[in-house]
Amino acid sequence: MKAKTAKPQRATAKVRPLTDKDRLDLFRMMVRIREFEEEVQRSYLEGLVHGTTHLCQGQEAVSAGTGIVFREDDYIGYTYRGHGICIARGMDAEAAFAELFGRETGVCGGVGGSMHLTDIDKGLIGAFGIVGGGLPVSVGAGVTAQLNGRGQISATFFGDGATNIGAFHEAMNIAQVWKLPVLFICENNLYGEFTRINHTTPYEDLIKRAKGYEMAAVQVDGNDVEAVYAATAEAAGRARAGGGPTFIECMTYRHRGHSRTDPAKYRDPKEVEAWLARDPIKLYEAALIKRKLLTKQKAEAIIAEERAAMRAASERAAAAPWPDAGIDFQALTFA
C-alpha cells in the first residue's frame, strides 16, 4: 500500500518565502518534537509517566510547519495528542515533562497530566481529551481574535476521527457563518484509535468535509514540512485579513500506537512500512542535504543535541517534587 500524499496544492502567492534559517529551524523543531516524544515513551516505560499518553512521532511536520506560522498573540487549541504543537510553540520541555510526571513543577502543577498540557501565556489555550471538544472553544477564541481586530487567528488541531462528531460540525458551521479567523487543522493519520478511517467516514480525503460548509480548504502532505508551512501561511494570511476560516487537511501517520498500551496490530504492515519510509524528519533531512543546508554529520549533531537536551529536561523534571496533597484546590478551581 502506498503512503497517501496529497494532490499538489494551490499557489501560495501571499506567503513569505522560507529563509535558510527557517529551514534549519524547522528541521531542528521536528527533531526536538521527535526526541521529546521518544523521551516520553522511555519515561512511560520507566513508570515516570502515569496512566496513558498519546504520542505523535511521525506527525512532527504538522506541528513544526504550522507552529512557525503563528504569532505570539495567536490562540492554539489541540488534543491529548498535542505534545508536538506545545513544543513547537515553545512550551518549556522540562515543565512539560514535569506535567507528564505529575510533578509540582509541571506546566499545570501536575494537576492536568499528559492529556491536558495547557499554557495560556503562550497562547496554548488547552488540550482537550474529549474528541471534538476543543473545536467550539477555538471558535470562541476566534471570535475574540475577530473582535480584537489586531489580525490574530485561532488555530485548532484535531484528528480524522474528530470529523465524525457533532462538535466538529457545529464549530465548522459557526466559524464559516461568522467568517472567523480560525484554522481547522486536521491531522489525518488514517486511524481513530484502532479503527481505520474507511470504517467510520464516507471517504478518506477529509478535505471533502469542508464542502458541506463552503469553507476554504486545502489538503497537504502532512509529512512535508514546507508544504504544511505554505498551506498554513496562506490560510493564516487570509484569516488575518478577514478572509475567514480554512480547513487544512494534513495527510500523515502516527508511527506508534494510539496510546502507550496499543501495539497497533490492526494496521497493515505494508501501510506502516510505506509511511515509515516517508518519515517527515528523514524526508526533510534529505531535502536540506540536497539543498546543501545540511550534512549528514550536522544533522546527526542536531539530533544528538536535541536528544541530550530532552534527556536533561526529563531528568530535571523527574527530580522535581510531587505536588503537596495539602495544596489549595479551591484556588485551582475558583478564581
Binding site: Y75, G77, G106, V107, C108, G109, G110, V111, G112, H116, T118, D119, I120, D121, I125, G126, F128, G129, I130, G133, G134, L135, P136, V137, S138, V139, G140, A141, G142, V143, T144, A145, L147, N148, S154, G166, A167, E170, A171, N173, I174, V177, W178, F329, A331, L332, T333, F334, A335
Partner: protein, 323 residues
C-alpha cells in the same frame, strides 16, 4: 425600588452590565433583532449591535463551547439557553470543558462566563420543554449554580454572576417571567450565593427554589391561618451550597421541609436534608421531608401537570404532618 417583571429584571441586568463593561457579550438563538423567544434580550441588539449580541445557529455545543473560548481569552460571554432542557445538548462542554478547564490548567486559566437557562414547568410545554434542569449539573465541581426566584433576585444574581470570574449557571424560570416585584435598580451587587430568609417563622423551616419559593410563601400563608408559622428560605444557590443558615433556622423550628420542581431522587433536597441532619441532628423533631415532582417526566395534559407540581396545599399539608 421599582416594580418590574422578572423578564424586565433580567433585561435590566444585562443592559446595565453590558454598558459597564464592553468585554461582556451575549450569544444565543433568536436573541438578536427578535429579542429572544422569551423577550429577555429585547433591545440589546439595537443598543449593543451584532458583535456583542450574537444570534447563533441552533448549535448549543458550538456556542456554549465558544463561550469558554471567549472567556479564557479576555471576554466575559453570556450564553442563553432558550429552554433549560437543551442543556443536555451541550452537557459535555459544560461538565468536561467549562467546569474543569481552570482546574486542569493548574489554576492559571480564568473562565468568567455565564450560562442562562430558562426552564420550568406549568406552561403546558410537555416533557421536553418543562424541566428546570437544576439537578443535572448538581454533582459537577467547578460550577456555580444559582436559581433566582424573584425579579429582584434575577436582577441582582445575574449582575453578580456576570462579575464572577468563574463559570456560573443561572437557572431562570419561565413561569416567573411575567411576575412583578420590587427591584433595587442600580443597588449594590448582592452576594451571588447563599440562602436568604424570606419569611420568618418559628414552627417549621421550608426551603425552596425558583417557582417553588412563591408556592412555599403561599403555603406559609395557609399555615398561618392555622396558627403555624413557617420560616421560608430561598436556597438561591445550589453550588456552592451553604446550608448554614438553613440549619440555624432548623435549630429554631426543629422541622425541615424542602420544595423543588424536580423528581426526588437526585434533587437538591436530599443534599439539604443530609447536610442539615448532620449539622442540626439533635434539633430535628422529625425527619426532613421533601416535596418534589413525581418520579416521571412532566406530562402535557393540564390536570396531570397541575397534579405533578407541588402546590401550596401540598406543601402546607406536608408541614402540618410534621409539626
Amino acid at each position: 425600588m421599582q416594580e418590574i417583571t422578572y423578564r424586565e429584571a433580567i433585561l435590566a441586568a444585562l443592559q446595565e452590565e453590558m454598558r459597564r463593561d464592553d468585554k461582556i457579550l451575549i450569544m444565543g438563538e433568536d436573541i438578536g433583532p427578535s429579542g429572544g423567544p422569551f423577550k429577555t434580550c429585547q433591545g440589546l441588539y439595537e443598543e449593543f449591535g451584532p458583535a456583542r449580541v450574537r444570534d447563533t445557529p441552533i448549535a448549543e455545543t458550538g456556542f456554549v463551547g465558544a463561550a469558554l473560548g471567549l472567556a479564557i481569552t479576555g471576554y466575559r460571554p453570556i450564553a442563553e439557553i432558550m429552554f433549560a432542557d437543551f442543556l443536555g445538548v451541550c452537557f459535555d462542554q459544560i461538565v468536561n470543558s467549562i467546569a474543569k478547564h481552570r482546574f486542569m490548567s493548574g489554576g492559571k486559566v480564568k473562565a468568567p462566563l455565564v450560562i442562562r437557562a430558562i426552564g420550568g414547568a406549568g406552561l403546558r410545554f410537555g416533557a421536553q420543554h418543562s424541566q428546570t434542569g437544576e439537578s443535572w449539573l448538581l454533582s459537577v465541581p467547578g460550577l456555580t449554580i444559582v436559581c433566582p426566584s424573584s425579579p429582584n433576585e434575577a436582577y441582582g444574581m445575574l449582575r453578580a454572576a456576570i462579575r464572577a470570574d468563574n463559570p456560573v449557571i443561572v437557572f431562570e424560570h419561565k413561569a416567573l417571567l411575567s411576575t412583578k416585584g420590587p427591584v433595587d435598580i442600580g443597588g449594590p451587587i448582592p452576594p451571588l450565593t447563599g440562602p436568604r430568609v424570606l419569611r420568618p417563622g418559628s414552627d417549621a423551616t421550608v426551603v425552596a427554589s425558583l417557582a417553588m419559593v412563591g408556592r412555599a410563601l403561599e403555603a406559609a400563608e395557609l399555615l398561618a391561618k392555622d396558627g403555624i408559622e413557617a420560616e421560608v428560605i430561598d436556597i438561591r444557590s445550589l453550588r456552592p451550597m451553604d446550608t448554614g443558615p438553613i440549619a440555624e433556622s432548623v435549630r429554631k423550628t426543629n422541622i425541615l421541609v424542602t420544595v423543588e420542581e424536580q423528581a426526588q431522587i437526585g434533587g437538591w433536597g436530599g443534599e439539604v436534608a443530609a447536610q442539615v441532619t448532620e449539622s442540626a441532628f439533635d434539633y430535628l423533631d422529625a425527619p426532613p421531608a421533601r416535596v418534589t415532582l413525581p418520579d416521571y417526566p412532566v406530562p402535557y395534559s393540564p390536570p396531570l401537570e397541575d397534579a405533578a407540581i407541588p402546590s401550596p396545599e401540598r406543601i402546607a399539608a406536608t408541614v402540618k404532618s410534621l409539626v
